[in-house]
Symmetry: C2
Subunit: 274 residues, 2 copies
Amino acid sequence: MNLFEQNHPFDAATRLTEESGNYHGRTSKCYANMIGPFGGVTAATLLRAAMNHPARQGEPVALTVNYAAPLAEGDFVIKARPARTNRSTQHWMIELTQDDEVIITGTAVFANRRKTWSSTEAQFPSVPTANEVESMPAEGRPAWVNNYDIRIIQGGLSLPSQPKTEDTADSVTIQWIRDEPRRPMDFLSLTAICDAFFPRIFVRRKQVVPIGTVSLTVYFHIDSAELNAHADQEVLGHARALQFHDGFFDQTAEIWTPEGKLLATTSQIVYYKE
Amino acid sequence: MNLFEQNHPFDAATRLTEESGNYHGRTSKCYANMIGPFGGVTAATLLRAAMNHPARQGEPVALTVNYAAPLAEGDFVIKARPARTNRSTQHWMIELTQDDEVIITGTAVFANRRKTWSSTEAQFPSVPTANEVESMPAEGRPAWVNNYDIRIIQGGLSLPSQPKTEDTADSVTIQWIRDEPRRPMDFLSLTAICDAFFPRIFVRRKQVVPIGTVSLTVYFHIDSAELNAHADQEVLGHARALQFHDGFFDQTAEIWTPEGKLLATTSQIVYYKE
């Protein structure tokens, strides 16, 4: 039995079957992006391989996924190897291949958390509730957008069909987001949501240019009990770029519950052409 | 010939010799930390293995290093494998072992940069010049601190021997830092400097508690020509924590030239006990 399995398109998209220690999956048209599948679902699928592994101990604390080559529509194989298991932490090396070619590499750290002195320094932004913000229409967007309810408070996109307008002053986006239909949040869907911001350069330059995430890192700041308490509520994503320079820009973001609990912080570096 | 080799304790600490495709190194007492070597030098040594590799193409864009187990004083072996080489990017899997046990894992992305539209959104903080700030004394600090000139503008430490004072309001640190003696900056020393902030929890709580970096990520925003232009000047590091929660806190930081060029952004997640 797979403890993480739910009846949602997200679960079909990240489904893996084990065979001789390898995990076999297949890309989902529901989560297609402009080229290949939505990278957030791919990252979640790599994490699922480690989570499903019989040697797994603890819950995710850190995940890094490197997008080495375009993932083609169809079947893939994931190898997840516990490189080191300690008393309270476990380190994973993960590799996704198609036809024996490496497409994605990754590492993950799992741990057993203990209650300690805790404090949140990041500021929950001042925002209207999700009910007060309109859902973004999915028309003209890649397929994966249909599987999310996204309500953008600041830093949206113009439609690809609209003419390019002036650059905005910054690339900050603040958005409410949840799975559509609703799905109780787990580490997998949280991972995907960390990558569910439109590329910062689209926001900043109000135009679509060729881009591709090169490396994505997620730090999980909660355990599964805290995710269970959150259930299927929306989360607030707050993202910005610090630097666009000679073909690569970064993105850092926080993912918050409506009550102001910080679920995850994330960063990525993205190739762009212009 | 090793293009990166310079005559500095840092070069001795990160020196590797190649043997049958593996890279052999040895920890340096000059860069010892409270337990084991300073993690920034270890991260730089992993990067050096990929940089020295004959198959290497391009320059570093992203590096993630996972500290899976304590690195013991003495010899170690690094295996660096180009998992995927594309036209303009290359993806590496890296593993450091001692006695065939995995101690550190990592991934790196190399790329050839091209000139594009560029923009820095992060704000260079308002600070005095390095000459206007006093160097931090290295007494009472781990050995590695002797190899840096650190001038803390905000968010310093009390000495371990001093009594615990009240928590500060935040864990922000702003510091000038450079190698001591001066050393022209390269990707290796920049990597180490990304980890050369004192742990955020020491700053926030004004006390030393057991900690250990679990995973470190560095995004490089410049190429070697820009590093060569920077030469051996000091850099400004600006770090903060977003979240301390149940045994793990994060740190994000920017590394700037005195002229306000953003060299690198970095994040890490750190285990703590309290």
